[in-house]
Assembly symmetry: none
Homo-oligomer: 401 residues x 2
């Protein structure tokens, strides 16, 4: 029995309100080995006050030592085993640019690439052409017409783009055309299941037409496709948790991930304050709110320790906008760690804080990795967060008699 | 998807060095309930200094409450799920005496035993005959000739021995001849799969010939065989982790276990200092070193608390031989607990210390069970140790986009 089956069996509705506040890449490291992390350095009087009357813990997004991407990390936060449930690269890329895939759409990542006269790939990234240039190429490719399939080609960044095919009976059981190395030809796309044969023929036709269009566009004179994926068919929060859930996020990727699990996406502004104000104005309409703050992660990826500290302090300054609403359950955590010292996502466990009337308090002095790692909730997999929130909102009935 | 499949997908190579220092049976108990353990009693200034700038935790070799043998405990340390991957008793016994099994060899544990005139087993251990005596009997049994199969019979200790058959198409899908009780006859060995029938006939022939040879050797006038096993076919460290790994151990069992997962076995002397010096001389040639210290476990098994304390202090005195090499990742832990108070392996979780530039420090005052159980790494399964070491050496790429 899947954990979601169990939770579906036990979950009930009531009129409690839950807020899951995710500071992307919250976990960190000191600038020097053993130094204070970004969160420990930040001046956070409001989070610290909350930590005094909350249960703390530290979570593993996937498992010890594994560094997650945004997709698996958020699936875990939403209670979906990130090893079992996977979102294909094409679908994730479409979500990342805010493209709202329909049920039968087929998406794939595109790399603009360079081929020599005999068709051998010489650069899988076409010299990392500027986004402006690839945007223009996408417009050209979007004009390709093949039978009744509607084709969208959208730029992502530099040589990266995404293609979405909208038609009947498209399959994602396809191999990549991207050979993942240079000095060889792009591969034919091959059907990996019987029902995928016509889709493979169609996709290869698209690629050949794209190559004709790009022939004189050196260095971007060909395309490599990979990660064919349809919209992931994930259990929906409404069914599993019986929750009316909403997402407040300003980055397309996180809206897309929330949409995949059935959350409503709320219109909001780009600042932390605007996101929190959106919570206030919508607070009566939903049971569960996922609020996503992106800048902690992006400043960590940039290696900007001071900026990440500042973003955390900005969240702290505006925290009263959330706490004044008196949610029954409030969680503050991250989806993974992004230490500025590493300039990338990392495997380190993530600080976690849960407030509810029914948790055991830690009486911690500060919300940070050190206190969290000694917290009453211990170290636990992030996939347990949703059941913990549901329990604390008294939305899970007894298991067994 | 198996955890090793995941790690294989994510692992990359670089020029970092890792050391896994295993003090066998490190975890302990006080002599009086609640007293200081062996590790807490030992005077360990160097380990304590290391603990200040390291991450501490406490590991479960298998799961809460389970006491592991050496085989499963080490498989866990090497990152192999010890419930899923098993090494048959025969193969483990062969490893334990330093017998280097070839790919198609079949091994089994032998007990010299006593049977009465009607063939009923009266003592499954032949009065625990001395090792010298059983050695002589092994020499006699090794002379048995059956077709083209080469037969090795080697003493282990007292009534215990091991037999290795080397021939074509031998199968280990065989039942035991050992009835596990007295007052009954030894069992015929039965094929448990179709392909094992000729092996069963052959093994029964070996047993009958052995009984003839031993007929006048009362009390060791028969043999009982159990745990038929071929060399375990385990994923190899080189493939899964992309590691060039070496083992430094003086006891045959641990060399055998390391060999099963594809480590190179380095020549070393019997003392702790000699083992550490072997690390120094081979440090440039490998990525990963497993160093095994046996005496912590054997003194624990002997119930010799003071001796176990002394062995730990001896490790501490020589620790600079390791730390002066500046490994990128250094782990100090045990494979399980062997409290002198219990004179045996136990289920207690095992103190764990990891140093790397990228770990969150615990600032602990002492390396011991109490600090470890409150450490920043929390309590975690030992099977996670390898992924944690690989992460800290920046050898694991991101999971998912």
């Amino acid at each position: 029995m899947d954990r979601l089956d169990l939770i579906k069996d036990l979950s009930i509705t009531n009129d409690t309100k839950m807020v899951l506040l995710v500071l992307d890449g919250l976990g960190g490291l000191g600038l020097e080995p053993g130094g204070k992390t970004e969160l420990e350095t930040a001046n956070t009087p409001n989070l610290d006050l909350l930590a005094e009357s909350a249960a703390l813990g530290i979570t593993d997004p996937i498992m010890q030592g594994i560094t997650p991407g945004s997709g698996p990390a958020h699936l875990g936060l939403f209670g979906y085993d990130p090893i079992k449930y996977r979102i294909g690269r094409g679908a994730l890329a479409a979500a990342g640019i805010g493209f709202n895939m329909q049920e039968n759409d087929l998406a794939a990542r595109i790399n603009f690439a360079t081929a020599d006269d005999s068709g051998l790939i010489t650069d899988r990234r076409a010299g990392r052409i500027a986004t402006d240039e690839s945007s223009q190429l996408c417009t050209l490719l979007a004009k390709i017409e093949i039978r009744n399939v509607k084709i969208f080609v959208k730029p992502v960044k530099e040589h990266r783009a995404v293609v979405i095919f909208r038609g009947d009976s498209l399959s994602d059981k396809l191999s990549d055309s991207d050979p993942q190395k240079t000095g060889v030809q792009a591969k034919e796309v091959v059907a990996l299941a019987d029902g995928a044969k016509t889709t493979a023929v169609f996709v290869n036709e698209f690629i050949h037409k794209a190559q004709s269009i790009l022939a004189d566009k050196h260095p971007a004179n060909t395309v490599l496709l990979r990660g064919f994926a349809k919209t992931p068919s994930l259990p929906q929060m409404k069914n599993v948790y019986k929750l009316n859930a909403a997402a407040i996020a300003s980055y397309p990727m996180y809206k897309g991930l929330a949409r995949f699990v059935g959350m409503e996406i709320l219109q909001t502004g780009p600042t932390i304050r605007e996101e929190f104000e959106t919570l206030k104005t919508s607070f009566n309409e939903y049971d569960f709110f996922f609020i996503h703050i992106k800048a902690t992660d992006s400043s960590g990826e940039d290696g900007n320790f001071a900026k990440k500290v500042k973003v955390i302090e900005e969240v702290d300054k505006n925290l009263a906008l959330i706490t004044s609403l008196n949610p029954d359950v409030l969680v503050v955590t991250g989806d993974h760690s992004t230490p500025a010292a590493l300039k990338s996502h990392s495997w380190h466990p993530v600080p976690f804080l849960l407030y509810s009337k029914y948790c055991r308090f830690d009486n911690a002095k500060h919300f940070g990795e050190t206190y969290c790692s000694k917290g009453t909730l211990g170290r636990f997999p992030a996939v347990d967060i949703m059941s913990l929130m549901l329990a604390n909102s008294l939305r899970l009935t007894k298991y067994g008699a």
